[in-house]
């Protein structure tokens, strides 16, 4: 079965819904979109099954398919080629699997839209899935870039889905423009690699990089490896919402909630992490870049975590949590724990999708209400939503044995093991914050007194008119998605149980070949070297104690949240007034948006208006054009006096002209 079917199916769904959606009833367009995703998931599963059955060639199992030469010019040859290796196989399963569930959930969530809008929504969602699959299946940078730009486009379209609302339209534009800055780096990085290696195929680049010595770990003496990987990382910070380009993601919550779950939590925003994993050999040869990646990751994790602590919009808390968790993944990448980063990506996809869909169910039940201050006490009214949300919250907080614990702990352990003790400390603080703000969210939403006033409809999401004030739990389609994701959040971690806990960390073994160049020696950790084995056993006791510590930290975070927001809500207000400055700073999101506005947006605007528009365009360009016109007009005012209208004058000028010309030839 050809690989191209995997992205082609959602694309076909997009074409049908985009072309005919207006005429299709909702049941048909929703079913169509969901079933193409399910079929794509089926194909992905079969492909992965086939991959698992393959004999490794040069230590790597991969299915490659090349369809035709997309660009061929001189030494540049870029085939449209797809490749599935362990890394890509994890990604396609996440995208199609979680994508299917979110499509299913959306059929219920979006049911109040008109037929045309409903079909438009699903066509965008299908298109997104198609592009995302191209992104992970692409065997070279340019093919990945098709997907990279395509998902950006779909993200823009879906954030601005309710485009009649100015904030949604603005948020869409913001996401698109901020991503453009990152994409600029991505393109430059791509060009640098082509300049250096003459190829853009991932495997070929990796093989060529593997032959080179590593760059020094500072900028002095850095080669193209460091610069290219830094530029690629800039692309990753845009797409994956890291400092300094994270600003678009919280605003992206203007889109429908399932979109936030699929695109802005589970899949698209992980593209940057995936891209680094895909180029693990390249990044591995650029220690300086890895250092930057790790620091940016951990600072982002902490930074976003502190903001998440005080936000009042249920989706924004989750958005900052996503930024923070993505920071964890980058930290993993930065300390060289590529498998750990992808593992966290995979578990995070489950519980973050679950949390978003759960928050969507809450918003749905409350007729579009998103403000935590108007929620509370929903535990009884929304039992399924509450239970699944609780599971997701425990999973993200990192309580064993749920999925988030294993992946987060893997990252913390690898950070410690690689000697980044400071980064480890910061990451532990971020883990504490994660537990705190997630349980704050849980308590404010589901516990305590109900603060929602049923007669006040905040009809920001198209929900409301038909709902009235009665609370209702998730309808079946939404409930199924929530329950499946909740099960996933509980059990997804089993593939990565570390050796220290008697597991085999199968996902690491499975993914490892993807992070090596073809033919490179696998760096087996369990070779016969007795010293190494001893060191490993010593390490595992440290690992166990660190594990215990991080669990304690998570419990402490939960405890703090319980104390403040469940037991004594007055404390929160008291602290907010006592540390008014800090509180305002956090509530204002460190005023980064305002800073960017003042430092970048306004100067660009002023230069554009004052210099480029008034000066260059209106002054120079228009001036030149109008000046030419004026000169011509002036001369023609003189010259047109010759046109008297008298036929005989014209005839005379002909005659004199002929006489002059003939005379010239006769007497020259």
């Amino acid at each position: 079965m050809p690989l191209y079917l995997i992205p082609l199916l959602p694309f076909a769904g997009f074409l049908v819904n985009a072309a005919l959606g207006r005429r299709l009833p909702k049941a048909v367009s929703g079913l169509l979109a969901t079933s193409v995703m399910a079929a794509s998931f089926g194909f992905s599963a079969m492909t992965v099954y086939r991959l698992l059955g393959l004999e490794p060639v040069d230590g790597v199992r991969a299915i490659s398919e090349s369809y035709y030469t997309w660009i061929g010019s001189g030494s540049l040859s870029i085939p449209l080629a797809f490749r599935v290796d362990p890394l890509a196989s994890v990604m396609i399963l996440i995208i199609t699997g979680i994508g299917t569930l979110i499509h299913l959930y959306s059929t219920a969530y979006m049911h109040e839209e008109s037929d045309g809008e409903y079909a438009r929504y699903f066509s965008y969602l299908n298109l997104f899935a198609a592009f995302m699959l191209v992104l992970v299946l692409g065997a070279s940078f340019p093919v990945m870039f098709i997907g990279w730009e395509g998902v950006g486009l779909c993200s823009y379209l879906l954030i601005g889905f309710w485009f009649t609302k100015p904030t949604a339209a603005e948020a869409g534009k913001k996401a698109f423009i901020v991503n453009r800055i990152g994409d600029f780096g991505f393109i430059l990085g791509m060009l640098a690699l082509f300049w250096a290696f003459g190829t853009l195929d991932f495997q070929e680049v990796a093989s060529k990089v593997a032959l080179l010595p590593s760059d020094p770990s500072s900028l002095a003496g850095a080669t193209v490896l460091t610069f290219a990987s830094l530029l690629l990382f800039l692309g990753a910070t845009g797409k994956s919402a890291q400092l300094p380009l994270y600003v678009w993601l919280p605003d992206a919550m203007e889109g429908p909630t399932p979109v936030s779950a699929l695109i802005h939590a589970a899949t698209m925003v992980t593209a940057g992490v995936y891209m680094i994993g895909r180029n693990a050999v390249l990044f591995g040869h650029a220690p300086f870049t890895l250092e930057v990646v790790a620091i940016v990751g951990v600072v982002t994790a902490l930074f976003a975590g502190t903001i998440g602590l005080v936000q009042n919009d249920i989706k924004r808390v989750l958005a900052y949590s996503t930024v923070s968790q993505l920071g964890y993944m980058f930290l993993a990448m930065g300390v060289g724990a590529f498998a750990g980063g992808i593992f966290h990506l995979y578990t995070h996809a489950f519980f973050k999708a679950l949390l978003f869909l759960g928050s969507g169910a809450v918003i749905h039940a409350l007729a579009g209400e998103q403000d935590l201050r108007n929620m509370g006490g929903l535990r009884k009214a929304l039992p399924i939503t509450f239970l699944t949300f609780l599971i997701g919250t425990i999973a993200i907080a990192g309580i064993p044995p749920l999925a988030g614990f294993f992946s987060k702990d893997e990252i913390l352990w690898k950070t410690w093991e690689s000697g980044h003790k400071v980064l480890w400390g910061v990451a532990v603080v971020a883990a504490f914050l994660t537990a705190t703000y997630m349980f704050r969210l849980l308590y404010l939403t589901f516990f305590g007194e109900r603060r929602h006033k049923p007669d006040e409809h905040h009809d920001t999401h198209g929900h409301g008119a038909g709902h009235g004030s009665h609370l209702h739990d998730a309808p079946p389609a939404m409930a199924i998605a929530l329950i499946v994701l909740a099960i996933g959040s509980v059990v997804a971690g089993v593939v990565g149980v570390p050796h220290a806990l008697g597991g085999e960390n199968r996902i690491e073994t499975f993914l490892a070949p993807s992070f090596r160049a073809i033919g490179a020696e696998p760096q087996s950790e369990l070779t016969a070297d007795p010293e190494k084995v001893a060191a490993l056993e010593h390490g595992s006791s440290i690992e166990l104690s660190l594990m215990g510590l991080s669990t304690l930290v998570a419990l402490a975070g939960i405890g703090l949240a319980t104390m403040i927001w469940l037991k004594r809500p007055a404390i929160a207000d008291a602290w907010a007034t006592r540390f008014a400055g800090v509180h305002r700073l956090l509530l204002g999101k460190y005023y980064v948006d305002e800073l960017y506005n003042a430092v970048i947006v306004q100067p660009v605007k002023r230069v554009s208006q004052g210099l480029l528009w008034r000066g260059v365009d209106a002054g120079l360009i228009d001036g030149t054009v109008n000046g030419v016109g004026l000169v011509v007009r002036g001369w023609s005012a003189v010259l047109r006096r010759l046109q008297t209208g008298s036929v005989r004058a014209y005839a005379m000028s002909f005659f004199l002209g002929v006489v002059a010309i003939v005379g010239y030839y006769l007497w020259r």
Binding site: R640, Q643, T644, G645, S646, V647, R648, A651, M652, F655
Partner: protein, 103 residues
């Protein structure tokens, strides 16, 4: 007996006819006369063609003359039609009366 006409005599005659025609175009004040003067100029040219052809023993020029005569006939028809139209417009036939086609 007059001497046998040479090529030069034909060319002289042609030049005289052309000059008469040109003078007519510039000096006469009636559009119809001007048109007739143009015909005279055309025929001066025709005469040159035929004379030179005869002198060199070729027929190309004579063929051209037929074309010129045909076109001149068509031109005369169109020209006279325009003259009639002009006359209906202003009851005058001096070209100086018709100078409105200018800036």
């Amino acid at each position: 007996m007059l001497p046998e006409p040479t090529l030069n005599s034909y060319l002289m005659l042609s030049a005289v006819l052309f000059a008469i025609g040109t003078a007519g175009v510039f000096l006469r004040r009636n559009i119809i006369t001007i048109l007739l003067s143009v015909e005279v100029m055309l025929n001066a040219v025709n005469l040159t063609f035929v004379a030179v052809d005869r002198f060199r023993g070729q027929v190309d020029g004579q063929i051209i003359v037929f074309f010129v005569i045909t076109v001149a006939a068509a031109e005369a028809a169109v020209g006279l039609a325009i003259v009639i139209a002009l006359f209906r417009h202003k009851e005058m036939l001096t070209p100086d009366a018709f100078t409105s086609l200018k800036w």
